[in-house]
Amino acid sequence: MTAADSLPVIDLHDVTKTYRTGTLSVQAVRGVTLSIQPGEYVAIMGPSGSGKSTLMHILGCLDPLTTGSYRLAGQDVSRMSDDELAEVRNRRIGFVFQQFNLLPSLPAWRNVELPLCYAGVRRDERRSRAVAALRRVGLADRIMHRPGELSGGQQQRVAVARALVTDPALILADEPTGNLDSAAADEVLALFDELHQSGRTIVLITHEGDVGLRAERTVRLRDGRIELDRDQAGALS
């Protein structure tokens, strides 16, 4: 095990986030300290307004934090410029969104290779890696299909393949089953279980209790603070 492997993937220390609109200021996250180790499968849960979306944006380097510090895979990202953050998102994080967010005009493999385009990977290598990622999620026979020709579950699996293709330190899934019927949701969650077993670090944001139960660790938020943080066996961390 190398030094980098032993570092926590996510290391949040006393993070706050305040939104200001004119004279109104709202504190969405009020002092969160959280550490996630490599290979963990963590569900961040909470009712709407609990700050879980804001926390997801901070974890995904999509939104800067107001105070506190954030180390992602050992790298301090709390004071980075926009372009540096773009590179961190590109190399370290694989996103899976509720809305799938696939580009409708591109076939599945072109959607999957998109992060590699921004990473400057050569075209032939991009293609073989995209095809491998699609095979990994069980869509080897759907490479040339456009999103409109795929079912919701298949589209979300294409999105998972896109998250996997850069081999990121963290897979960040924001309500990945929110737009799926229960069969398709099971299909996607089974894929996450499988990825977890192969050693991936997964953070899943959800408000559905049964989805949260699939993870080995649950972090429950309320009013911008961590209310409960426990593993599946019930032990509090």
Binding site: L62, D63, A86, R89, F95, N101, L114, P115
Partner: protein, 412 residues
């Protein structure tokens, strides 16, 4: 993201909205085609006029009466005064006075009706001397030109232009025939060569005139008080290098003969060059006017590009958000939209140039004006079209690049 990759993305975005992209390009297309055609039209007209003026004769200076400026502040209309005389012409012809002048031909002209056995034809009757032929760089294809003997005898003879001869005599041989002007029968002694006079009205038709000895014209045809005054003196310099020396000698001698200072000069001397610039300046102004109207339509096309790019940015907010989440930098997003805008500009420019070139081939058959297409102007127009795409794409592209990723992802 590499340029090639960005270009591919831009192309697929343009192609995925075919109708919209087509209409946007149409704006640029019309502008570019209009610019190419108006510039081509202007260049064609200028080439035509300068061709005609070069036909006037080599090393040519033309003296016209009437001053351009007067110290008294009164400005006579060009050619309104009748201050040139045959004596002036004779003096300029002297080798002692003007060594750089090879030959001089005074000319007086008026529109008259010529009659020949039942046919009549209105043409320009030119009274001049035998030197006219060499000064104007002409020749005769049939018969002979005027001689000094004709001039001394006030001979009733004429040399016709090719068009005039054909109008009066058709296919018959004109030499030896008789034409009547103002009741005076003239014997046709020769026919001038054809110089390919054109439809342009900016100069008189050089193939349609009747040349008569200047003495015959003064004494037997025009008569009246203006019989000793002449309308122009054509001067041939010994070489084109001697043109400016000839110009100065002629000016000095005429000022001396007329007893006036340079400020009060009652004549104007023009070289071919100045005739050329006068004649082409009108065409130039017209071309510039038309081209600026065309340029305005190009501007409107550019605003169309900007408009459609802004719509495109608004529509694709989620796509921009996604690309940013996946690692696209500000620069990558801006470049993507700039490439899209310049693809629209380039396609519009190339198609517009194509339409312009087709128009340049087809239109001259309809409007009888030549259109000269210069490759530089065509390439320039395409470059301008791409430039317009870029310039009008900068604002929408910058707006896209500035979107915060979370706002963009949330947008519908």
């Amino acid at each position: 993201m590499s340029w090639l990759e960005t270009l591919r993305t831009g192309l697929s975005a343009v192609l995925s909205h075919r109708l919209r992209s087509g209409l946007t390009m149409l704006g640029i297309l019309i502008g570019i085609a209009a610019v190419i055609l108006t510039v081509g039209f202007g260049e064609g007209a200028q080439a035509q006029v300068s061709g005609e003026i070069n036909d006037l004769g080599s090393n040519l200076l033309v003296v016209s009466p009437g001053s351009s400026t007067a110290s008294t502040g009164i400005r006579g209309g060009f050619g309104s005064a009748s201050t040139l005389t045959e004596a002036d012409a004779t003096a300029l012809g002297s080798k002692l006075v003007a060594p750089d002048i090879a030959a001089v031909a005074p000319a007086t002209q008026r529109s008259e009706t010529l009659t020949a056995t039942g046919t009549n034809w209105t043409t320009t009757v030119v009274g001049t001397t035998p030197d006219w032929l060499s000064v104007r760089a002409r020749s005769v294809t049939e018969g002979r030109f005027l001689t000094a003997a004709d001039e001394n005898a006030d001979a009733a003879v004429t040399v016709l232009g090719a068009t005039t001869a054909e109008e009066l005599f058709g296919l018959r041989d004109p030499v030896g025939q008789t034409v009547t002007v103002n009741g005076l029968p003239l014997t046709v002694i020769g026919v001038l060569n054809t110089v390919g006079a054109s439809a342009s009205s900016s100069t008189t038709n050089l193939d349609d005139q009747a040349v008569v000895p200047i003495t015959t014209v003064a004494n037997r045809i025009f008569g009246g008080s203006t019989r000793t005054s002449i309308q122009s003196i054509y001067i041939e310099a010994t070489s084109s290098a001697a043109l400016s020396a000839a110009y100065q000698e002629a000016t000095a001698e005429l000022l001396r003969l007329h007893g006036v200072s340079a400020a009060d000069a009652d004549f104007t001397i023009q070289s071919q060059q100045s005739l050329l610039s006068t004649a082409t300046s009108v065409d130039k102004t017209l071309t510039e006017l038309l081209a600026s109207i065309a340029a305005i339509s190009l501007l409107v096309g550019g605003i169309g590009v900007m408009n459609i790019m802004l719509v495109s940015v608004t529509e694709r907010v989620r796509e921009i958000g996604l690309r940013k989440a996946l690692g696209a930098t500000h620069r990558a997003i801006r470049r993507q939209f700039l490439v899209e805008a310049s693809v629209l500009g380039l396609a519009g420019g190339v198609l517009g140039a194509g339409i312009g070139l087709v128009g340049a081939v087809v239109l001259p058959h309809l409007i009888s004006n030549p259109i000269t297409i210069s490759p530089t102007a065509t390439v320039g127009a395409i470059v301008v079209a791409v430039g317009i795409g870029i310039v009008f794409g900068v604002y929408p592209a910058t707006r896209a690049a500035r979107l915060a990723p979370i706002d963009a992802l949330r947008g519908e």
